[in-house]
């Protein structure tokens, strides 16, 4: 008996799983490059877990004050937290430490990019329609969980930039109406920077609670995808809402997927080794009384910086009671509106279009101009707020006055999306029309061909 046969027997004898395994091996994956975006996110997450575990062995989750006497001369004699010192040491004195840390940071970036692109793909092809609303909701939850997770990882280092990021997050928490102050007092054990208890809390959330949460959401997400089967584009006549066509897990898909996994990991390690990211020893330690100009957060938080900067200066006050402190608008309400839109979009679309039927066949963006227009509108809204957040850089590089830019964006973030949405709608319509002309021409040509070909035969018959 061959080795394969013996291994399969061994497994089946112990688990009685041969029928399931056979199904898994011949599970069908419809083929399209854009279906790989979610996979890229999955593999980036695996790299994050792997590199993250390594980092935990060197990181110290303490904000106790220490004086630096390490190998990096510019920081000699400076006061810093143990957390920051441990990351400087990990980066500069631990062999392969910097490689792993930078790869971890790159992986976080690629993870979030991949999630976003995957979300766009799913949105613009209508893959979230029934019966996949729950898969969509799980995915959206994962996006926001991952944003928080990335923010915490970036904050844990306690360099100057991360400290500035954390105090802004704290202020947004503080701005929650009615409960903000209590919530932050509870979490930080006192007003910012709070007591030393906060760092271990953020640490355990970053390395245990959130990864487990994301892992569970991921499992449910993938399980539901597999149970309902993948969606597909209609490329062949055999494909329909009832029949799926694709490459089986084995042998077709396995080398592709593992190949993609290794490629993602490879690119991440190449980036981690060759392209510097977040050189925290240059930023220096954080102190509540220190800040630096021109600071920008990691890109995935740029939209929130933009939101915070755009709001005009006011708190909503009733008598002496501060109902809504300013950071609430840009830092909490804005992301909540985006989150709410994403959660409720499938439901909204069903209401508006009256399309309650289930769909396994995808649409192209042009097939549904209204959805595409709304999607482009919402995306450009978020992107414009993001761009508004970089007005200070524009001011620095091009000398355009900062206040003028902010006033422009205060209007344009609402006008722009309407314009871009309308353009998207028009482009979709035009593309559709163009295709129709093409189809009609083909049909007409085919008819004439048929006519000219059938004429002589008809005449010969007569």
């Amino acid at each position: 008996m061959s080795v394969t046969r013996r291994v399969v027997r061994w497994v089946d004898e112990r688990s009685a799983s041969a029928p399931i395994l056979r199904k898994v091996l011949r599970y069908l994956f419809p083929d399209h490059w854009s279906f790989l975006l979610g996979e890229v996110a999955l593999y980036a997450f695996m790299v994050l877990v792997g590199t993250g575990i390594y980092l935990t062995f060197f990181f110290v989750d303490s904000t106790n004050d220490v004086v630096y006497h390490g190998t990096y001369a510019p920081l000699q004699g400076q006061h810093m937290t143990e957390a920051y010192k441990s990351v400087v040491d990990l980066s500069l004195n631990v062999k392969a430490g910097l490689l792993i840390r930078q790869t971890h940071h790159w992986a976080a970036n690629v993870f979030l990019v991949a999630i976003l692109l995957h979300l766009f793909r799913v949105f613009f092809t209508g893959a979230y329609r029934r019966p996949r609303g729950l898969i969509w909701a799980l995915g959206v939850t994962m996006l926001f969980t991952s944003l928080l997770e990335a923010y915490m990882g970036y904050s844990l280092v306690d360099d100057l930039l991360s400290g500035m990021g954390l105090v802004i997050g704290y202020s947004v928490g503080l701005s929650l109406p009615f409960v903000g102050a209590n919530l932050m007092e509870w979490l930080f054990h006192g007003p910012y920077p709070g007591q030393h208890v906060f760092w271990p809390r953020m640490y355990i959330a970053h390395v245990l609670l959130f990864p487990i949460l994301i892992g569970m959401l991921l499992t449910a997400h993938l399980l539901l995808v597999a149970l309902r089967h993948h969606t597909q584009f209609k490329r062949r006549r055999a494909q329909s809402n009832h029949v799926v066509m694709g490459v089986p897990t084995y042998p077709g898909q396995t080398p592709r997927s593992i190949g993609l996994m290794l490629a993602v990991a490879g690119v991440l390690f190449l980036l981690g080794g060759l392209v510097q990211i977040n050189p925290i020893w240059q930023w220096g330690p954080y102190h509540t009384y220190d800040a630096t100009n021109g600071a920008q957060p990691d890109w995935y938080l740029g939209w929130l910086i933009g939101g915070l900067r755009l709001v005009p200066g006011f708190d909503v006050v009733i008598g002496k009671y501060t109902l809504i402190p300013n950071p609430f608008w840009g830092g909490a309400l804005f992301p909540l509106v985006v989150l709410g839109f994403l959660y409720f979009w499938p439901w909204l679309e069903r209401k508006w279009s009256g399309d309650y039927s289930w769909h396994n066949v995808l649409e192209r963006p042009r097939d549904n101009p209204r959805r595409t227009a709304i999607g482009i509108g919402v995306i450009s809204w978020v992107v414009l707020v993001f761009v508004a957040g970089s007005s200070d850089r524009v001011n620095l590089v091009f000398g355009i006055p900062y206040t003028g830019q902010i006033w422009f964006y205060r209007v344009f973030v609402f006008v722009g999306p309407v314009v871009f949405g309308a353009i998207a709608y028009w482009v979709c319509k035009e593309l559709r029309e163009g295709e129709k002309v093409e189809e009609d021409r083909h049909a007409a040509e085919a008819e004439t061909r048929l006519a000219t070909w059938s004429k002589p035969s008809q005449s010969s018959e007569t």
């Binding site: 061959s2 046969r5 011949r26 069908l28 490689l99 930078q102 802004i168 202020s171 701005s175 109406p177 102050a181 209590n182 932050m184 007092e185 509870w186 979490l187 054990h189 007003p191 910012y192 709070g194 309902r228 089967h229 055999a238 009832h242 029949v243 799926v244 066509m245 490459v247 077709g252 080398p255 592709r256 593992i258 190949g259 993609l260 290794l262 490629a263 490879g266 190449l270 980036l271 981690g272 080794g273 060759l274 102190h287 509540t288 009384y289 800040a291 630096t292 100009n293 021109g294 910086i305 900067r309 200066g313 708190d315 501060t322 109902l323 402190p325 300013n326 950071p327 396994n360 902010i406």
Partner: protein
């Protein structure tokens, strides 16, 4: 001896020959047979070999400390090892394994029979209950109780109701202003068009209420509102360094070089560019802050040292629901 040799030989034949059967006839194949592609196979093998080589390279770079740019070479070798491996697998996927496009039915919209069966199973299992609604309520109550009880210890994280902490600062009348190295500031140290960070003497510098920005303005340019009259010391004004918008440190001082054409002096937070006017009591000129910067009243003692004349005129730090309720007080 000969017998032993025979046994050994036959054993070898048995072991080596095990499982070698004639291949299954073509008709029984599960996966269709395709033509071989020796070139692609060579490529895949070469790529795998390159991958192993890179792995070895990684270990060498790790072990030998004299190699410069260690991080870069570590990343390069490990990254390439993975990329070569990936390439080999992609060649395998595209050229060496059978690419079948199979069709299959999607699962049905609803398993009507099964759904019915499950629902009936659950519903009929409760037939012995007479007070169903009460029973369900009791179940819910116990379940909710357990969850609430399990979450209660989370209250130990920190005080949920002690918001008076937000009003505490280290400032008391007579407290001296010191710099980052704990040297007390003299009024004569503070020059116009410059910007100083000061702390309460003896306080924890990280505490939000402890840090100040100090600037000196020409007394003629001061336009303090009535309730802040006398807060300056000969034109020296002190404000909390913590921005009232999102808690960053106010670390920029915009000073006009040619007054008529340029905006007046301003304290600016680099996080969201809240801009405060130091001449008029820290009022907001531009940006998202909803509240002026809290101002600390100053005086100059007989030896010329700067001292606090009291506490800030408003609560320090970013806004929350009670931030306007009362003035800050010295910490207990």
């Amino acid at each position: 001896m000969a017998k032993a040799k025979d046994i050994l030989l036959s054993g070898l034949v048995l072991v080596a020959g095990r499982g070698r059967r004639s291949p299954r006839p073509e008709a029984e194949r599960v996966v269709p047979d395709y033509d071989a592609d020796p070139r692609a196979e060579t490529w895949a093998i070469v790529l795998l070999l390159l991958s192993s080589l890179c792995c070895a390279g990684f270990i060498v770079v790790y072990a030998v400390d004299r190699i410069p740019h260690q991080t870069q070479f570590l990343g390069l070798s490990l990254g390439l090892a993975l990329v070569f491996f990936a390439a080999a697998l992609i060649v395998t996927a595209l050229r060496l394994v059978v690419t079948e496009e199979l069709v299959e039915e999607y699962p049905p919209e609803l398993h009507v029979g099964e759904v019915d069966l499950i629902a009936s199973t659950v519903e009929e299992s409760g037939s012995r209950l007479t007070r169903r609604r009460l029973f369900k309520l009791a179940l819910l109550g116990a379940g909710g109780g357990l969850v609430t009880a399990a979450l209660t210890p989370a209250a130990s994280f920190g005080p949920l109701l002690r918001v008076k902490d937000y009003f505490g600062t280290p400032w008391t009348r007579g407290r001296r202003l010191v710099d980052e190295d704990d040297r007390p500031y003299k009024a004569s140290d503070i020059e116009e068009k410059d910007f100083y960070t000061a702390f309460a003497e003896g306080a924890d510098k990280e505490e939000a209420g402890a840090s100040l920005v100090l600037v000196r303005l020409p007394t003629s340019s001061l336009k303090l509102p009535p309730e802040l009259q006398g807060y300056d010391a000969n034109g020296i004004v002190a404000y909390s360094k913590i921005c009232t918008h999102a808690g960053c440190a106010i670390s920029m001082y915009r000073v006009p070089t040619f007054l008529p054409d340029e905006p007046k002096p301003a304290l600016v937070c680099p996080c969201h560019y809240s801009t405060f006017d130091p001449a008029s009591g820290g009022t907001v000129q531009f940006g998202p802050a909803g509240r002026p910067l809290p101002m600390l009243p100053l005086e100059i003692d007989a030896r010329g040292f700067l001292r606090a004349k009291g506490n800030f005129d408003g609560a320090v730090g970013p806004a929350w629901w009670g931030v306007r309720n009362r003035k800050p007080s010295p910490q207990s």
